[in-house]
Symmetry: C2
Subunit: 368 residues, 2 copies
């Protein structure tokens, strides 16, 4: 095994996904030198000492080999290029299953949602997954109870490709009640994790995992989500990564559809009701074809008047509440909120804990 | 009774709403002279002879008086100014009930939808109507089976104001199974029609009636509608009149929600799930407050790039299909359809039988 791959495998056990320092060090120094720095343990890197002492990467690789998992790193043919574009790429991916990961996710959709789904939601998730899988698209999800499981099963039921991205090591099915499902996915599809064997699923790793589901796919569809659902975190990652986002409506009386309705109202997601509409959303045409030729424009050059006013009201260096923006632009809260959603999808503003700030824009002009 | 009021009452029995010639004649000559021209019956106006022979306006006014109906005409305090802004205003309105029509509809929402509603839809319609009525908004609808009836009942249940706009004369409850409901509305709210007593409800009058429901309110909310529902016609009128439009989502498995979902996907309606969200949509702030000062702009000056491209692709003098626009702008059909919906809401394009053309713009610059 080459040194870079070994170092990345080791780092995936030592450092948490989205660690504050490690991704930057890898960018700057490469994985091998980064691992060396962690071992030297100077300054803030001293915090890795305890975990480094207990890490045995050879053993992790043995465990992986026993379950048929491989380590995929940037530069491999199987590495999904899309994952190099997200704000914090994984150090490596531990991958089980017979498919080629890069090829599989090239045309893929994430179908995610509530663990406490309704029968309606589970049915819709399975139908959508079967529908997109039959049209040659892979279904990516998180193997959780509820919507995730139904999405995987829907794809498997039509012999479609499906990818389960786990928050813990690929050798430990989680939730354990889905062990059979995950084994079936490992046999016919792909089971993927960014953390090494032996890593337990923890809350922070679920949140980090969501960015991979959003990041490796063309788009994310939320089938059911209550207002505080983790799948809304996946939506946020999808928006941050510039991916398409769809949401399935449901009865307004169902709290597990409230999160979907909110995403649609806020302009963050497009309403989708069928596999055709999902493919319409993420399909090739929009991505591969070009806009009619126009001079280079920045996204903020072409905003509708309300959106332009809202953007003007949002500061760079501090955060502003929705109410404060509403007062400044003197428009209905619903309209202002939807404008903020559109600006967020354009990457012009960013939201955190209900407050908004402008997002720094790349220096180079971006063509519309 | 003054001559203008009498002439308008007569015209409302002689000429169909939205007749091709009569509204233009009234604009040009006034109602009295228009009625005179119809009586003279020259040229194309000869077509009114038969009906004129059988019309007895004095008798119509007697019938109206018996059911307590009055004739309201432009210039009356009770005339809703909003109805003078729509493309084809009614000749007059026959009005039963204790409320002042203009005051009542000043803050009003149309709640409409399928006659073959589900229990879910009827419950949502009644809840929304009760919610907006409790907040001081009048509920306008068409007294039909299904959503309309539930909306009226929801408003009445909380002693709220409600207005039923009928397609036939105000003296004949239609549907007859709703006679008790309509009588209750006439007692506590308002029953309105633009056709004189004795006029039967006919298909063309239902379509014309929908423009009044859309035109006299601040906004229209569709609760349930299948893809071919008449309430989508009301949405079209609301868009044409520049009103707010909301649609309530439902299960994707319910065909009576499919029309609502389509309106939301097409960018023609905003997704709403509660009375608060409805009022957020139609409420005062957006209408009464001003945009931050900007130079005069035309709506097409500030479009996002895709919308601008789509607008460019739509011709003035002929109509173009969605597919043809998709080919020209090379974007996903869903995106193009949503852009057309936004352009339609801005009054820049108009749709007819699935094809699109540019809409002539007023000469004067329009601010904001």
């Amino acid at each position: 095994m080459d040194a870079d791959r070994f170092a990345r495998a080791a780092l995936s056990r030592v450092a948490e996904p989205c660690d504050k320092e490690v991704p930057g060090l890898i960018d700057e120094l490469g994985a091998v030198e980064t691992l060396g720095r962690l071992r030297a343990g100077h300054g803030t890197l001293a915090r890795f000492r305890a975990r480094l002492a207990s890490v045995d990467t050879e053993r992790d690789l043995d465990i992986a080999a026993k379950v048929g998992a491989r380590v995929v790193v940037p530069g491999d043919d199987e590495w999904p290029d899309r994952l190099s574009e997200i704000p914090v790429p994984p150090y490596c991916l531990w991958v089980r299953g017979p498919l080629d990961l890069a090829e599989t996710v090239e045309r893929s959709v994430a179908i995610v949602g509530s663990r406490t789904a309704t029968g309606y939601g589970e049915q819709v998730a399975a139908d959508l997954a079967a529908g997109v899988a039959q049209r040659g698209w892979a279904v990516v999800s998180g193997a959780a109870f509820g919507i995730d499981g139904s999405a995987h099963r829907g794809a498997l039921a039509v012999d479609g490709a499906t990818v389960a991205v786990l928050a813990g090591g690929v050798e430990r099915p989680y939730p354990s009640a889905h062990a059979t499902l995950i084994a079936r996915i490992a046999r016919d599809g792909l089971v993927v994790s960014e953390v090494a064997p032996g890593s337990a699923p923890m809350k922070s790793r679920f949140l980090a995992r969501n960015r991979l589901i959003a990041g490796m796919t063309r788009g994310t569809v939320v089938v059911e989500a209550d207002l505080r659902s983790g799948s809304r975190n996946t939506v946020k990652h999808a928006i941050d990564a510039g991916r398409h986002v769809g949401a399935v409506p449901g009865p307004t009386t169902s709290m597990t559809s409230a999160g979907c309705h909110q995403e649609i109202r806020d302009g963050r997601a497009v309403l989708v009701t069928s596999a055709d509409e999902v493919i319409d959303l993420v399909g090739d045409l929009g991505d591969d074809a070009c806009e009619p030729a126009r001079g280079p424009v920045r996204p903020e050059d072409d905003l509708p008047p309300l959106d332009a006013s809202v953007l003007e009201a949002v500061p760079f260096r501090s955060a502003i509440t929705l109410d404060a923006v509403v007062r400044q632009v003197a428009h209905a809260p619903l309209m202002v909120r939807a404008a903020l959603g559109r600006l967020e999808r354009l990457g012009l503003v960013t939201e955190s804990a209900g407050t908004w700030r402008k997002r720094p824009q790349p220096r180079s002009a971006k063509s519309g």
